[in-house]
C-alpha cells in the first residue's frame, strides 16, 4: 500500500479500492471549514453572535450611506471605499482578534492538531490553510460593506469608471491589510493558547500600537518633524494601510502622508509583515506538530 495518496483507516475488515482524494482536497476542505468557523457557521448558535454582530455593525453604516445618497440625490459618495474601511478599522480589528483564536488556538490547546497531522497533510499546509481561512474571512468582512457601497452607488447612477477605480484601489489595500492582520493575530493566537490572553495581545497589536503611532504622527506633524511621523507609520498594520491609501489618493487623510521612496518602503514593510507573520505561524505549527 505504498502508493496510496489519501487515508481511509484500514482496520483489516474490508479493503477500499475506490478513488482517493489527495492533499489538495483535504486542504480545500479544511480551508472551507476554517472559513465557515471564522463566522461561527457550523458551530454553536452562541458563536455566531459575535461575528455577525460585528459584520452587521460594519455593514449598517454603508447601507445608511447608500440610502442617503439615493434619497438626497448626491452625485458622489460622501466617503471613499478605502475611507470607509478606515472608519470601521476598530470593528475589523475586533473581528480579527476575536476570531483568530477560533482558528489557531483551539487545535493547539486541545492537541487535536495531532489528529490533523495523522492525515497526509503536512504541518505547514495546515498552517497555510488556517492562515488562508482567516485572511479570506477578513477579506469577506471588509469587502462586504464596500461592495454594498459600490452596488448602491452604481444603482444611484454614480460614474462607473470613477467608482470602479476607487473600488479596485480599496480592494488591493484590503487584501494587504487582511493578510497582515491574519499573520499578526494568527501568530499571537498560536503562541498564547488562552483565549482571553490572545485577544488582549491582538488588541494591543491592532488597536493600541496604531493608536500610539497616530498620536506620534499627530505630534510630529504639529512640531514640523514630518519624517519622524512617516517613519513611525511603518510600525503598525493600520498606519501602513492608511499611509498607502493616502499615497494612492484613495481618500484617506493621515497626519504625515508618505511620499516618494517612503511609499515603496510602506508597501515593502506591509508585505514583509504579512510574510513574517505567515512564516511565524508555519514555524509554530511545525514545532507543535513535531512534539
Amino acid at each position: 500500500m505504498a502508493d496510496r495518496a489519501g487515508v481511509i483507516h484500514d482496520l483489516g475488515y474490508r479493503h477500499y479500492d475506490g478513488p482517493r482524494d489527495g492533499v489538495a482536497t483535504i486542504a480545500r476542505t479544511l480551508f472551507v471549514t476554517g472559513l465557515r468557523h471564522a463566522f461561527g457557521l457550523g458551530r454553536s448558535g452562541k458563536s455566531k453572535i459575535l461575528p455577525f454582530l460585528l459584520l452587521g455593525l460594519s455593514t449598517l453604516p454603508a447601507a445608511i450611506v447608500v440610502g442617503v445618497v439615493t434619497l438626497v440625490g448626491l452625485s458622489d459618495l460622501p466617503l471613499t471605499y478605502a475611507g470607509y474601511t478606515n472608519q470601521t478599522q476598530l470593528l475589523v480589528s475586533l473581528f480579527a482578534a476575536a476570531q483568530a483564536p477560533v482558528l489557531f488556538s483551539r487545535d493547539l490547546r486541545y492537541r487535536s492538531i495531532v489528529l490533523y497531522l495523522a492525515r497526509p497533510l503536512p504541518a505547514y499546509v495546515v498552517a497555510l490553510t488556517r492562515w488562508a481561512s482567516l485572511t479570506t474571512a477578513l477579506l469577506v468582512f471588509t469587502v462586504l460593506p464596500v461592495l454594498v457601497l459600490y452596488a448602491g452607488g452604481l444603482l444611484a447612477g454614480l460614474d462607473v469608471s470613477d467608482q470602479t477605480t476607487d473600488l479596485l484601489k480599496a480592494v488591493a489595500l484590503l487584501l494587504l491589510v487582511s493578510s497582515m492582520l491574519a499573520g499578526i493575530t494568527g501568530f499571537i493566537s498560536s503562541v498564547s493558547l488562552r483565549r482571553g490572553f490572545a485577544v488582549v495581545g491582538s488588541i494591543v497589536a491592532l488597536v493600541v500600537v496604531p493608536g500610539v503611532v497616530t498620536a506620534v504622527q499627530a505630534i510630529a506633524s504639529e512640531e514640523g518633524a514630518e519624517q519622524v511621523g512617516v517613519a513611525a507609520g511603518l510600525a503598525s498594520p493600520w498606519s501602513l494601510t492608511n499611509g498607502l491609501a493616502s499615497a494612492w489618493d484613495a481618500g484617506v487623510e493621515v497626519f504625515t502622508p508618505p511620499e516618494g521612496g517612503w511609499v515603496v518602503a510602506y508597501l515593502a514593510v506591509a508585505v514583509l509583515i504579512a510574510g513574517v507573520g505567515l512564516a511565524a505561524i508555519v514555524a509554530r505549527f511545525l514545532k507543535v506538530g513535531s512534539q
Binding site: L94, R195, V204
Partner: protein, 232 residues
C-alpha cells in the same frame, strides 16, 4: 474577604507571561509621554492622556486584570475546587475583585497619574489621576461581573470599551450617561475644569458606586449559581 484566595488570585495574575503583558501597558504609556515631553514640550505630551492613556490603556489593564483573576479558572474548570470550599461565594468574588482592583490601580491609574505629572502636572494631573482611580475601580468591578457571566468576557468587555464607549461615545453624546470613562472624567472635572463635563456630578458618583458595588455583588451571585459548561 479571604486572604488565601487573595494570595492565589495575586499569584494567578503575576504568574509568567500575563505579568509582562500587564507591565507593558504602564511602561509603554510612561515611556511615550516622557519621550514626547523630552523631544518637544510637556504641553504636546498631554493629548496622549485623553487620547490614548485614559480611554484605551486604563480599560485594557482593567480587562486584563479582571479576566485574569477569574477567567482561567472558569476556563479550565478548576473553579469547582474553589467553590467546593466552605467560603461564601460573595467573599470569593470580593477577594478576587480586591486583587483585580489593586492591579488596575498599580498598572493603570498610577502610571496615568505619573504621565500626567510628566505632561505638565498641577491640578490637571491630580484631576486625571482621580478620574483614573474612579474609572479603574468601576471598570474592574464591571469586568469581574462580565467574567463571571460569560466565557467570552474579554471580548464582551472590549466591545463595551471600544465600541460603546469609544466609537459610539464619540458620535453620540448621550452615551456619556452610560459610560464608565465619562463618569470618572466628570468627577475629575471637580478638581480641574480642563477635564470635560459630560454628565452631572450626582449621577456620575451614584452610577460609579452602583456599578462597583453591584458588579462585585453580581459576580458573587453568579458564582453562587455557577454551572460548568463545555467549550462552545
Amino acid at each position: 474577604m479571604n486572604s488565601t484566595i487573595i494570595k492565589l488570585a495575586a499569584q494567578a495574575l503575576l504568574g509568567r507571561r500575563r505579568f509582562w503583558l500587564l507591565l507593558a501597558f504602564p511602561v509603554l504609556l510612561i515611556a511615550l509621554t516622557v519621550t514626547v515631553a523630552a523631544l518637544t514640550d510637556a504641553e504636546a505630551a498631554w493629548p496622549l492622556l485623553p487620547g490614548l492613556g485614559y480611554p484605551v490603556v486604563l480599560p485594557l489593564v482593567a480587562v486584563l486584570a479582571a479576566s485574569s483573576v477569574l477567567g482561567p479558572e472558569v476556563d479550565d474548570g478548576s473553579i469547582v475546587y474553589l467553590l467546593s470550599k466552605p467560603v461564601s461565594r460573595h467573599s470569593v468574588a470580593l477577594s478576587k475583585w480586591v486583587v483585580a482592583w489593586a492591579a488596575t490601580m498599580l498598572a493603570g491609574a498610577l502610571p496615568l497619574y505619573v504621565s500626567a505629572l510628566v505632561a505638565g502636572g498641577g491640578d490637571r494631573a491630580l484631576a486625571a489621576g482621580l478620574a483614573a482611580v474612579v474609572a479603574g475601580t468601576t471598570y474592574s468591578a464591571l469586568f469581574l461581573a462580565v467574567s463571571a457571566v460569560t466565557r467570552h468576557a474579554v471580548i464582551v468587555s472590549l466591545l463595551f470599551v471600544l465600541i460603546w464607549e469609544g466609537l459610539l461615545g464619540n458620535l453620540l453624546s448621550g452615551v456619556a450617561w452610560l459610560s464608565v470613562a465619562q463618569w470618572g472624567l466628570r468627577i475629575g472635572h471637580e478638581i480641574s475644569t480642563e477635564l470635560p463635563d459630560p454628565t452631572n456630578l450626582p449621577w456620575a458618583i451614584a452610577a460609579s458606586l452602583v456599578v462597583t458595588v453591584g458588579g462585585v455583588w453580581f459576580a458573587g451571585d453568579r458564582l453562587r449559581s455557577f454551572t460548568l459548561r463545555g467549550e462552545d
